[in-house]
Amino acid sequence: MTEIVRVQHVSKTFHDKKAVNDVSFSIKKGEVVAILGPNGAGKTTTISMMLGLMHPTNGDLKLFGLDPSDKKVREKIGTMLQEVSVMNGLKVKELLELIRNYYPNPLSLKELIQLTGLTETDLKTRAEKLSGGQKRRLSFALALSGNPDLIIFDEPTVGMDITSRNRFWKTINQLADQGKTIIFTTHYLQEADDVAERILLFHNGSIIADGTPAEIKARIAKQAVSFATDDPIYSLEKLNKHAVVTNIYQKNNRVIVQTEDTDAVLALLFEEKVGARQIQIENGKLDEAFEQLTNEQQEAM
């Protein structure tokens, strides 16, 4: 598969403060990637460098194998940034027609309306008179107007209500099915988990995890089996001898067994006859993983 984005050892320093610290990753055609992280993790700075709006202090970035500010790159990307950008004095339709003309193979106005849910009334309204939600829709339409191969969004759903958010992600899935490469930043874990095939987890300017949502969850082994028993001391001793158990402890009246293989632990419970009742299997949740990873990183510093 073709490599669309290549970021190699990129750092960005603002007045002695390292906003991005030696970040490397590569994104292939058709991937849907979430850049996830708390505020100030370096997501927007990374996006800005990928778009050629900022120059890295060190390192090298390429989009489609070219410098991000190359005209050929500009023709293949569509962007929606955090600031809601509008051009005063033009009606939505006039603006879309104008921007479409910048690109060699633009989407038709009809397709744009279909994808973004702009209404007939929206089209006749002047850009400066649109509501926040309508402006977002317009920005989305502007981002798609050139029929881009690579779509980059910085915090796309901030300020959207639930209906428009659902609609937005539905459209993104549709675009992903067409083979478009999509990169978006978010600090909503749920969004990253639901939409992305791959998550780049940023913290303090570095990537601390890179993988599918499932891999990220699995990596930190938050899976556990818990049960109640009349003799917790006995079960602790018995189970702790087995290598499949990574950690075991008693919490309230329950014994918690942390493991990477819950099935094996279940079998053990009956083999060792620990008298387990009310057995529960707990799968790791992404937000727990997220919290744990970002906390670990803080403690390490």
């Binding site: 005209k71 005063n88 104008l98 003309n101 050139g146």
Partner: protein, 245 residues
């Protein structure tokens, strides 16, 4: 080429729909013209000469205003609202974008000139020879370029409020001190001496000379060119300082 044409068209539409432009650059000069040639008796010795002179003053006043204010404030707005960033991310080249803005602005100036000249002809029956109409119009169009330079300089400011305030003060001060509201000759000597070095006076004077049947003075042209160079160098210097990220 098609993009340039569309971009120019869009830029013109935007200016025409701007209520500030319509008020300050079309309505105000015409109202002033009406007041100072019809309502108030200025006691000018030669009435027809004064009517032609003041028509040139008001047209220059209008074009100077839209060069400084419309252009400058819009540039700040576009940057503040993130539009300028969006445009940088499109394949449209910066040169085409800038050129289209200037072209759009020039066409708008031409429009203002025609409207205000027509108003003068209707209100006072100002009669100039065909070449005088053409040359005074052309002069106002071309000699306004230094004010476009000043407009882009104001466009480098960070906040719309500052840009609006500064450009308003500059605009009014230059109009009054440059003899656009009342002739320089009736002002104190010291004001006259200062006024003659301002771009506004040299801008207006070219047109005043043309309606008198003369050519603009060399001095006017040289001073305007000097201001253009100054504004361009200044904006280049400031831009470089701002871009040091």
């Amino acid at each position: 080429m098609k993009i340039l044409r569309l971009q120019c068209k869009a830029e013109m539409l935007r200016v025409l729909r701007n209520p500030y432009f319509v008020f300050w650059s079309l309505l105000m000069p015409i109202v002033f013209y009406f007041i100072f040639t019809k309502v108030v008796n200025t006691g000018a010795p030669d009435k027809t000469e004064w009517q032609a002179h003041y028509l040139m003053s008001m047209t220059s006043f209008s074009v100077m205003g839209s060069s400084i204010m419309t252009l400058g404030i819009r540039m700040v707005q576009e940057r503040q609202q993130g539009w300028a960033t969006f445009m940088r991310l499109t394949p449209l080249s910066d040169t085409v974008y800038f050129f289209a803005q200037m072209m759009g602005q020039t066409v708008i100036h031409l429009f203002s000139i025609v409207v205000i000249f027509t108003a003068g002809a209707i209100i006072n029956g100002v009669t100039l020879s065909f070449t005088q109409w053409i040359f005074s119009g052309l002069w106002i169009l071309l000699a306004s370029i230094p004010f476009l330079g000043l407009g882009t300089l104001i466009g480098l400011m960070r906040r719309v409020e500052t840009a609006a305030g500064v450009s308003n003060v500059l605009y009014m001060a230059m109009a009054v001190a440059g003899g656009m509201w009342m002739p320089l000759e009736i002002m104190p000597k010291i004001m006259q001496n200062i006024g003659k070095w301002l771009p506004s006076y040299n801008f207006g004077n070219g047109a005043w000379e043309i309606v008198q049947g003369n050519a603009p003075e060399w001095r006017n042209i040289l001073i305007l060119i000097a201001y253009l160079v100054l504004f361009m160098l200044l904006s280049k210097y400031i831009r470089r300082k701002q871009e040091a990220v």
